[in-house]
Structure formats: C-alpha cells, structure tokens
C-alpha cells in the first residue's frame, strides 16, 4: 500500500501519492476532487443518455443529467518534491474493474456517502476493507439530504470503530481539505498496525468486517437502509424538516429479497428498505434522551461541535470511540461494541462475501 514511486532522493525529484475517492453514483466525487485540485479535473461528464436507464440509478438524484465516464483526477502540489493525486472511482457498477488499478499503491481512500442512498457506498466499504487500504467515510451533506449523526452512519455501515466518519461539504475547499487531513492522519495512525501486518487475519475480515460479530445469522432483509429519519429521535427533535419518505424511495421500492443472504453485494440491487420505522424499535423519540450527544446542527449552521475557524465548509469530525453516549437502556450500544441485538444488527451493512 505504499504509494510513493520515488524516494525523493535528489533535487527536484517527485514523490507522488495517490488517494482514491470512492462512493456511489452521484455521491459527489467529482465535486470533491474539483474542490481541491489545482488543475481542472480530467472529468468527462457525459450527458446521461437513455442507454443509462436501468444502469445508472437516479433515485434520489433525479436532477443529475451527467455522469463521469472517465476517471476524475485532481492534483495537489504539496511541495516541489511532493505531489498528491486524487482519483475518483467511477461510480457505476460497470466500471468497477478499474478499482484495482486505482487502489494499487494508493495511500488511502475517502468514501463519500450520500445518506439518501447510503447503500451505494457499501461496495466501497467492502472493497477497501478487503484490500486493507486505510479509508475514512465522509458524509456529503447535500442541501436536501437528511442529516444523520456520523455514529448512525457508522452503525449502518458496520464500520470498524477506528475508521473515522465525518460530515463534509464536497463543494468547499476547507471541508475537503479537512477530509484529506483526516485521511492522512488516519493512515499515519494505522501505520503501526500495517507494519505489523493486518490487525485481523484475512479470514476474519472476509467473514465479518472489523470487530463486529458477523451478523450472518441475523435476518438481513433490512440491512441496506438507514433508520428512517422519522423514527430517529435526534432528527425529530430539531427544526430539520423530517425527511419525507421520498428520500428513501429508491431503496424502498424493491421488496426485500426473502431472507436472501446477500450473495453478491457487488452485483445485486440494493435489497430495499425495510419496514423499519415502526416494527424495528429504535429508541423512542419521546424522551429523546440522546438529543444532546447526538445533536445534529441544523443545516444552515453546521459547524457546531468542535468548531474550526479554518473550515468554511463546516465540519464535525467524530472521533470514533469518543461519542459513545452514556449507558442508557434505550440507547443502542455504542458503535463498535459487540452487539447481539438482532434489531440493531439488522440495520447494518451486510458483511462482504
């Protein structure tokens, strides 16, 4: 996973690093790369044609009329001898063959998540977990997307507790910069582990990512959906307009495959949402005891917790273990803790096969 072709020994030599920007179709990868690149990204946005219908799922991003058919790349000159490249992965499934090439020798990866279609980034998480490439998850805060707590996303994605999850605005230089800083810090923090070899034997990774118990025996029908915002107390307790069901129309239109354990998450359509809000008892919203720790700032004034004056985009980096709420019987167990509750486990990403 080393990424520097050159040792930089000598004057004017380059050392080049690359960072992979992954995420689902329409998650904002091109925007993120363009926000920090000093060169015009080699984007090849093409008008979505009728040939894409059925291939490029526009659920939730209906206004998207172009898509990236070639790879995005952006360039950041760190110094006269260091250059950082950002490569955006093609979002469409039919271009996944390019991922191996993009990830080869990469420093790390940023997975952009769109909470309207969170399941789109499951394959990215699976992929980077399998190839042991350090990655972080950046939740791109679209203007019209529901706001979720990063920890909720962590649970839904079944992430290793060490993986940073943060909010970002892919359009803002400051925000993207913070994403990249977080990634490089994460890579540095992961180094001792990498140098000692993978933290987990590959077999464990294959069976169930990270430290989570493999939820294989749990009914997985609803594993590809975030808890609907309506049922989530902390969103309701704020002035945020409760995201209508429309935000989830994409994933929920398909009936869940009957108990099908996700044989191949790389090729199957998202098995749909689930009868989640009512039947899967999330913490009741009435008391909203966790409004404090989970408090999501309203969209207009995102920077709240840990404000960083350097960040115009507004960022809220949630260090993985820190935000575990105090023990409350109604609360889900802190993310990353072994969790045998099938209800909670049902919200999770299906482990990669």
């Amino acid at each position: 996973m080393g990424s520097a072709p050159s040792d930089g020994s000598g004057d004017g030599l380059l050392a080049a690093f690359k960072i992979v920007v992954a995420g689902g179709f329409g998650a904002g990868k091109t925007t993120l790369v363009g926000a920090v690149s000093e060169v015009r990204p080699l984007r090849t946005e093409e008008t979505l044609s009728s040939g894409s219908i059925g291939l490029d799922d526009l659920g939730g991003v209906a206004n998207k009329t172009t898509t990236t058919v070639a790879m995005d790349f952006g360039r950041i000159t760190i110094s006269s001898r260091l250059v950082l490249y950002l490569f955006g992965t093609p979002g469409q499934e039919r271009f996944w063959f390019m991922w191996d090439e993009l990830s080869y020798g990469a420093l790390g990866a940023v997975i952009l998540a769109d909470t309207r279609r969170l399941d789109d980034c499951f394959p990215s998480v699976d992929y980077f977990e399998k190839c042991h490439l350090p990655f972080i998850v950046a939740i791109n805060c679209f203007d019209d997307s529901p706001r979720y707590d990063p920890e909720d996303v962590r649970v839904a994605l079944d992430l290793d507790p060490r993986v940073p999850v943060m909010l970002c605005d892919a359009r803002q230089l400051g925000s993207v910069k913070q994403v990249l800083v977080t990634l490089v810090e994460h890579v540095l923090a992961s180094r001792p582990l990498l140098l000692q070899g993978p933290a987990d034997p590959p077999a464990t990774i294959a069976a169930g990512p990270g430290t989570m118990p493999p939820p294989a025996e749990v009914p997985q029908a609803g594993s590809h959906a975030l808890p609907p915002p309506a049922g989530v107390p902390h969103t309701g307790s704020h002035a945020l307009p409760p995201p209508a069901g429309a935000a989830h129309t994409g994933p929920q239109e398909l009936p869940p495959p009957p108990g099908a354990p996700q044989a191949d998450p790389y090729s199957m359509p998202p098995p749909a949402g689930m009868p989640l809000a009512g039947s899967h008892a999330l913490p009741p919203s009435a008391g909203a005891p966790q409004a404090g720790p989970y408090a999501m700032p309203p969209p207009a004034a995102m920077p709240q917790a840990g404000p960083d004056p350097m960040l115009p985009g507004g960022l809220q980096v949630m260090p993985p273990p820190a935000s575990a709420p105090e023990a409350d019987p109604d609360l889900p167990p802190p993310p990353g803790m072994p969790d045998d509750d099938p209800v909670r486990a049902g919200l999770r990403r299906t482990p990669g096969n």
Binding site: L14, F17, L42, R75, I78, L107, V181, V184
Partner: protein
C-alpha cells in the same frame, strides 16, 4: 469557422481512433503496465536536441513533457490522450532508451512516515 472544418472541431473528438497511435496495441509490448503515478523522465538531459526524426508527433510531445520528472497521469492529462494509449507510447519510449522510470517502491512498501507528515503539513497549509 468554415463549414468544411467542422469535422476537425475540437469538440468532435479525435479524428483518428486513439489506438491507431499505438498500432492497435492496447498493452505495452513488454507487458509492464506503468502505474498511474509512476514517474518518468528523459534519460538524457540533451534529449531536447536529440534526434527526433524517427518519432511521431505524440512521442515528441511526450518527450517534451518529460524534461523534468512527471507522472504518467500528468502526461495523459497534458496530451489529452487516453491513459491506455499513453502507457503504450511511454513503454515504447522506455524500451528505446528515450525515457526512464524513476525508481519505485515495491507496492507493499510504505512511504516513509516523514514523507507522510510532509503531506499532512502541506494539506493543512492549503
């Protein structure tokens, strides 16, 4: 623009199919695939005045870019040629001794922590 010229408009795309430049080859002859961020440079600083008569215009523009070390990605970006084509052309130039690839780490190696910290500081300073 005269109407006759509209087929050569830049937006019309390449007049010649990209892989015509490589003689139809889609992979380098020696099988070595250059990494996206592999760094190439001309082997001889005097290459500028070298014998370019046997070189195609694409080869010449590539050599012109490689007077200082550049990455494969930058070459592809600057020449507006597809990456696959650039890889074949670069491999040909390397095989002919016109270009060399700067020493690379093996893929399993880690960049040094010092370099990573330099990257981190550079990012913070953006």
């Amino acid at each position: 623009m005269p109407p006759d010229d509209k087929w050569t408009d830049r937006n019309a795309g390449p007049v010649v199919r990209p892989y015509a430049l490589t003689g139809g080859r889609t992979a380098p002859t020696d099988g070595e695939i250059l990494d996206l961020i592999a760094i190439v440079a001309t082997t001889d600083p005097a290459e500028r005045d070298g014998d370019w008569i046997d070189l195609s215009p694409e080869d010449r523009s590539i050599l012109g870019l490689c007077h200082r070390p550049v990455t494969v990605t930058d070459v592809a970006s600057a020449t507006l040629l597809p990456l696959g084509v650039i890889r074949v052309l670069l491999a040909d130039l390397i095989a002919r001794g016109r270009l060399s690839v700067l020493p690379q780490r093996r893929s399993g190696d880690q960049p040094s922590t010092e370099l990573l910290k330099e990257v981190l500081h550079g990012l913070r300073a953006l």
